[in-house]
Amino acid sequence: MTETDPWAALRAARAQERKTLDEPSGKAILASFGIRVPAFRVVRSNGDLDAIKGELRPPFVLKVVSAEVVHKSEFGAVKVGLKDEFELNSALDAMRATLEGRGIRADCWMVEEMVPAGLECVIGGVIDPEFGPMVMVGLGGILVELMGDVAFRICPIEKADAVEMLRELRGVALFSGARGREPASFDALVDALLKVGGKNGVLMGCADAVSEIDVNPIIVTRDAAIAVDARFILTPLA
């Protein structure tokens, strides 16, 4: 049952009084709803890195998994563009040293296939005190708060709502490839938005267990929308 129940890790984290869900578990939830996530492996030591070879395609991304790290990029806790196991090993050593220097404990590490460049977007969720689950889409990835180019809807949304949300964004022209940039798949993001905010989506499934969700960034390429990070903020068990 645990293999097929996407919420098992979420229940366990709440039972352990954790405030957030770790990234691998969050991504497993997204993947179980059909949202694309990069192929990844969880490693606990340098020794585990050998097993990556042949399973994941370089270049790799190394990330720390730690309840104590909120915004990974601000801690130097993400390293991208690693070409092989050698670079992975030294990046892991360096990252471990940096975090230990700051007194931060790593739970484990993630090695991911690096996602190709694309339009950095955000899908989010919040449990509104008045309306219950609401879904958000926005442009700018981790810069979303600076740009403020977002649209909200009350869940569950339908496809027409998802389309309207994207059209509401000031930067919607970016999807058709403004100023010589690669186009980004409008349809793939609509699809991901429905999988988060739709009738059988992520938010309707966990509205009683989370307060907020960030899928940020979700990188939209010519033909896919790939969730590069996933944060679930948990509500305490009653």
Binding site: K19, T20, V122, G124, G125, V126, D128, P129, E130, F131, G132, M134, M136, G138, I142, V144, E145, G148, V150, F152, R153, I154, I157, E158, K159, A160, D161, E164, E168, S211, E212, I213, D214, N216, R231, I233
Partner: protein, 479 residues
Amino acid sequence: MSALEQFAPLFTPASVAIIGASASSVSAGNRFIRHMKTFGYDGRMYPIHPSADEIEGLKACASATDLPGVIDYAYVAVAAAQVPSVIRSLTGRVRIAQVMSSGFGETSAGHGLEQQVAQAARDAGVRVIGPNCLGVYSPRGRMTFTERTSADLGVVGVVCQSGGLGIDIIRRGQNRGLRFSGLVTVGNCADVSPSELLEYFLESPDTSVVGLYLEGAGDGRRLFEVLSAANSRKPVVLLKGGCTRQGQRAAASHTGALSGHERGWKALAAQTGAVLVDSLDAMIDALLAFQCLLPRANPTRRAVLFGNGGGTSVLGTDAFAKAGFEVGAFNPPTLARLEALNLPAGSSVLNPIDIPAGALQQDEGKVAERVINAVQESRAADVLAMHINMTVVLSFRHIDMLGNLIEAALRVKARDRVGMHVVLVLRSDGEPDVEQRKREYRQRAVAAGIPVFDELIPAVGALSALRHVETFRAHRTDA
């Protein structure tokens, strides 16, 4: 039981009980009885009083158990602490009770008492509206809770969470030409929620547009569900107080930081076709537009302005354009047609069409009808906004130019077969005689289905509300 069946006794009660009328002074209950009598309520009224035989000329009952049969509506205005026991005493005696008393959840000490009211309502099987409200206005049921309310039947239904604002909506609204199917003040909503009364108005055949003023929290989800299910069957205009208060939660995510109270209400409007407005006047403007105009299948886009006054034409064009309407040039056939009318010197037949009063007076303003006819028959406009500077037009005292201009609009409206919206902007300087003329013409125009606004900017706001509903319906039909 449908909401229509459940709340019909609220708007057309055959009998009314009054709890809280005084035998020796004039309390809220006494004033209610007086208002009802003045308004011509023709059902039975039963004051309940432990000792008096008669109150306000009506025979009093000593207690609820003495009431003859089941009473449709009880007006309750007693001290807050007595309300729960009064509600319990109505068990099996009253269908709907409205509690005017204050001192409940709106005060720091009253939350517990409000919960007791809700519990008493459930235990008694009585639906309770309020507490902390003012009453119901229903011209059809000859019910009112305040003075100077119109007896005319109308199609506007309103649920209002503020009593005082409810009086504003009735009184200011009726002077703007609004006519109501009903207005209910709901106060703290301990038992009956605003969305339940919204359901009533959505089901009521007497109502074609609904206004909501909400300020409390907690009913949003149900409101969303009711509005979603209604799928914009009737236009709903929503004024939400307290929109700017941000969520109290400290956000732990980007999404949380970007979310706020107002986002939800905007989302609600986008998803259900409800129109969100931000002032009392904007609400009245929008309700008036929906009372008068039938939403078009093709959303309103092209506006033609016609009036006297170059400056107003320019500012009006800006207002329409800023709101996303197109004030475009006429196509050659339309232009040729307008030019063939040989308008008086000084006129401009481009859009906006501007004919100064000095030019209009040559044929006492009768040319106006030929102009707007040409616009209508050439299907050049989704909306025609006719604006009149009354001060200037009325200064030509030897002729009834104003009358002729407005008659022209009324006749064109009556002949309309192409679904062109016609709106009238009567611009006054506030002089009593000008205001008086405006009143007269406003009532005539609104009765004929032409909404009248004081300025072009509120007209644009009301037309934007109309377009929101038209666009929502057009999109949802496509999907």
